[in-house]
């Protein structure tokens, strides 16, 4: 099973990391996102409903994707974060930067 799922719909793609988004998943997902942007995707939604663990490498990927999209007049948002991941994003003061939508499910 791959570490993530990507569903594309026109210029929008929904990325769902499975289980965790940490240093070991980042290189594969980074490449997949690069290909999505090359294919014309400009709005990325990260669905973290299945992501039980996020570390600083995963946070770095989210910020790098956000920076790339900003340069392309695109957008990135994070939805359905699990409670502990939500708390981490809040404590790192990234809720606004990453457009984290909604809180605990």
């Amino acid at each position: 099973m791959t570490a993530f799922r990507i569903e594309r719909n026109g210029m929008m793609a929904r990325v769902t990391p499975r289980e965790k988004l940490t240093a070991s998943e980042v290189p594969g997902l980074q490449e997949a996102i690069r290909l999505e942007l090359e294919a014309g995707v400009r709005n990325l939604i990260f669905d973290l409903s299945e992501t039980a663990m996020l570390d600083s490498s995963g946070i770095g990927l989210l910020i790098a994707a956000k920076n790339s999209l900003s340069g392309l007049q695109g957008s990135l948002s994070v939805v359905q974060a699990t409670p502990e991941v939500m708390k981490l994003l809040q404590r790192m003061r990234l809720v606004q930067r990453l457009q984290v939508i909604g809180g605990e499910r």
Binding site: A23, S56, S57, L61, I63, R97
Partner: protein, 145 residues
């Protein structure tokens, strides 16, 4: 190794292990760590302790040992009456941790948040003089919310 929570060895007060510098070895350590926390009835700290371990194991592997698999990373976890102590040691040259503590990344920077997470999720953090060993303490009854 998958063992039940009833396994007495999981409740030992001290546990240590050593791995080659490979990121794909971190998951196994984290799994074992969670089993031990659960055996000590500390399930509520699993996310926080795993996050701390991941950050400093990744740093030790990627930066401390520069990803050279022949170099080892050692983790030691001990359970006190009031504290859990986590110590991670690599075989690298260390780094200027004082400078890193002073210069945490801005919100647009996509790297360098590991130490910030260490400060947020531990109650106390100490680096060795050289910087190739970090020790983190976390209270069993935590106020880190």
């Amino acid at each position: 190794m998958n063992r039940g929570a009833g396994d007495a060895s999981l409740r030992e007060a001290r546990w240590s292990c050593e791995i080659p510098s490979r990121i794909d070895r971190v998951d196994g350590i984290c799994r074992e760590m969670r089993q031990r926390l659960e055996a000590h009835r500390l399930s509520g700290l699993c996310f926080d302790m795993e996050l701390l371990a991941r950050e400093f194991l990744n740093n030790a592997i990627l930066h401390g040992n520069s990803g050279q698999a022949r170099k080892k990373v050692r983790l030691e976890m001990s359970f006190g009456r009031r504290w859990i102590r986590l110590q991670i040691t690599d075989q690298g040259e260390g780094f200027s941790w004082r400078r890193r503590l002073r210069t945490l990344p801005g919100e647009e920077e996509d790297g360098g948040r590991g130490i910030g997470i260490g400060l947020l999720y531990s109650d106390r953090i100490r680096f060795s003089r050289k910087g190739n060993q970090v020790t983190l303490w976390r209270k069993r009854q935590t106020g880190k919310e």
